[in-house]
């Protein structure tokens, strides 16, 4: 169970060094992405001017304040509350996100499925589990909103955040076929019949 401090972006070797159960702290840069962003990028073939190669994306759509552009708010947005949404809805986009945009890490909650695990194994990537619903705390790890693209989809824009010690995050899925979520699901499935049997029969 190693702890990794990663200055983003990283390469495939760094991503493959991550193992389930390890913890990670991200530094420097993180991109925000979610349903509409991915639908527009991949189902409607929209291109972004932002360079995601080697980077981590977090499944998010933040609460932001509109402010006068300044050094602290280069594109006129100040972070207010930035949290994480359920990752599983974005399952079918992982491979394309890694292949076309070069993304290496996905930060999310609730875990992802077999398509994502396959993409990680083939291309070198990992899923970093954050505690969903802990957005007030997560916001303290964000420094500035550096850039934003596809803002017509607001709040589901493509966001670029400058981060300070973002984490600790738990490696929930790795590039070696490991998934803590799948492990728990197997364990739960093995308990299911006993739990059902323990329920009282109807009168």
């Amino acid at each position: 169970m190693a702890h990794h401090v990663l200055d983003m972006p990283i390469d495939a070797g760094h991503a493959r060094a991550l193992r389930i159960g390890d913890t990670v702290t991200l530094r420097k840069t993180l991109f925000g992405i979610r349903d509409a962003t991915l639908i527009h990028m991949f189902d409607r073939d929209r291109r972004t001017r932002l360079d995601l190669v080697g980077h981590a994306v977090i499944h998010t759509a933040p609460n932001v304040h509109r402010v006068e552009p300044s050094e602290a708010a280069p594109v006129g947005y100040a972070p207010f509350c930035i949290g994480t949404t359920t990752s599983m809805r974005m399952e079918r986009f992982t491979d394309a996100l890694m292949d076309r945009e070069g993304v290496r890490l996905i930060v999310g909650k609730g875990g992802m499925g077999p398509e994502t695990l396959k993409a990680f194994a083939e291309r070198g990537g990992a899923y970093l589990a954050i505690v969903g619903g802990a957005a007030a705390l997560e916001t303290t790890w964000i420094e500035t909103i550096v850039d934003v693209d596809m803002d017509d989809l607001h709040p589901e824009s493509l966001w670029q955040f400058a981060i300070r010690d973002f984490g600790p995050l738990l490696v929930g899925m790795d590039s070696h076929g490991g998934s803590l979520f799948a492990d728990v699901q197997r364990d739960v499935a093995s308990r299911r019949d006993a739990v059902i049997a323990s329920l009282g029969a109807a009168r």
């Binding site: 509409a36 998010t60 759509a61 933040p62 609460n63 932001v64 304040h65 509109r66 207010f80 509350c81 930035i82 949290g83 994480t84 949404t85 359920t86 599983m88 809805r89 909650k109 609730g110 875990g111 589990a129 505690v131 969903g132 619903g133 802990a134 957005a135 007030a136 705390l137 997560e138 916001t139 303290t140 607001h154 709040p155 738990l170 929930g172 803590l180 979520f181 492990d183 728990v184 699901q185 364990d187 739960v188 499935a189 308990r191 299911r192 006993a194 739990v195 059902i196 323990s198 329920l199 009282g200 029969a201 109807a202």
Partner: protein
């Protein structure tokens, strides 16, 4: 008592923001109960982070979760209250919109077909407004629920057969909780509706999911089933965030309604650990927030 709609508008605005920032005391107590029982190291760490987040939100005046939810307003109006019904609905809507604009909240509400976001947290038939009546004199209570969507996506309805019995209802609940795993941001409150018509059954599940912890179903048989299911879901091992442990749910809540001789409906609606709600009471003496 004449209900002052300008006052109601301000209350509806403030309740939305309060609900997003302050976790109700029963949920905070629920976290303490789960922490005392959790044996998984990962589970304990996650619960610790959730509790820390509640404190950070209060200290930094921030909202608890990024998801501002679908706004729901539940009004209960007592006797001897005069009001303009259409004006009342408009006042609630204006309050919801003002909360979003004045506090720079993320609008999480879109048109279901065009996906257009008006950036007001309002849209067709949203905010959702429920009005009920009770026997209290000159009293109006307003409850605001920003219903988070990671958990709302964990909603199911099944029109079971009478011959399937109540055991099939219980199995349905357990199997849906297993299917959802960590997606619904556990520890959750599992809301279960039993009976009614299809729409009422689903509504019962929402009432159950948003009911305070340590409250029981008013029906004796419903209360017995919720106690039984509350124990059972926490033996599945799903745990906080679906990463293993005992703390899958704070509780399973059941609400029931009479149903048709041919029907055996069951519905599930989940509330996430950020189980937010806020309530205010308006009387001739003034406004009080819970």
């Amino acid at each position: 008592m004449d209900l002052d709609l300008n006052e109601l508008e301000v209350v509806c605005r403030d309740l939305y923001v309060r609900a997003l920032k302050i976790l109700p005391p029963d949920i905070k107590a629920g976290f303490s109960d789960l922490q005392a029982r959790e044996t998984s190291a990962t589970g304990r760490a996650i619960l610790g982070t959730m509790v820390e987040n509640v404190a950070v939100a209060e200290r930094t005046q921030n909202i608890l979760c990024q998801d501002t939810g679908i706004p729901i307003y539940n009004l209960v109006i007592g006797r001897n209250v005069a009001f303009d019904g259409a004006g009342l609905k408009a006042a609630i809507r204006r309050g919801c919109e003002r909360a979003t604009k004045e506090h720079s909240l993320r609008s999480s509400v879109v048109h279901p077909i065009t996906r257009q976001n008006e950036q007001t947290s309002c849209g067709i038939r949203v905010p959702i407004i429920h009005v009920d009546f009770d026997a209290r004199d000159e009293t109006v209570s307003v409850e605001m629920i920003p219903k988070g969507s990671g958990s709302e996506n964990g909603s199911f309805l099944q029109m079971l057969l009478p011959s399937d019995g109540i055991n099939a209802v219980k199995r349905f609940v357990i199997d849906r909780v297993i299917e959802l795993g960590g997606r619904v941001c556990p520890p959750t409150i599992v809301g279960v509706g039993i009976g009614g018509t299809s729409d009422l059954c689903m509504h019962l599940a929402k009432i159950a999911a948003t009911r305070p912890l340590r409250s029981a179903c008013a029906d004796e048989d419903g209360a017995r089933i919720e106690a039984e299911l509350s124990r059972a879901v926490n033996e599945l091992g799903i745990g906080p965030q679906g990463l293993g442990g005992r703390s899958t749910s704070f509780a399973v809540h059941v609400e029931i309604a009479a149903t048709h001789i041919t029907q055996n409906p069951v519905a599930v609606n989940i509330q996430c650990h950020s189980a937010r709600r806020a309530r205010a009471t308006l009387t001739p003496g003034g406004i009080s927030f819970d």
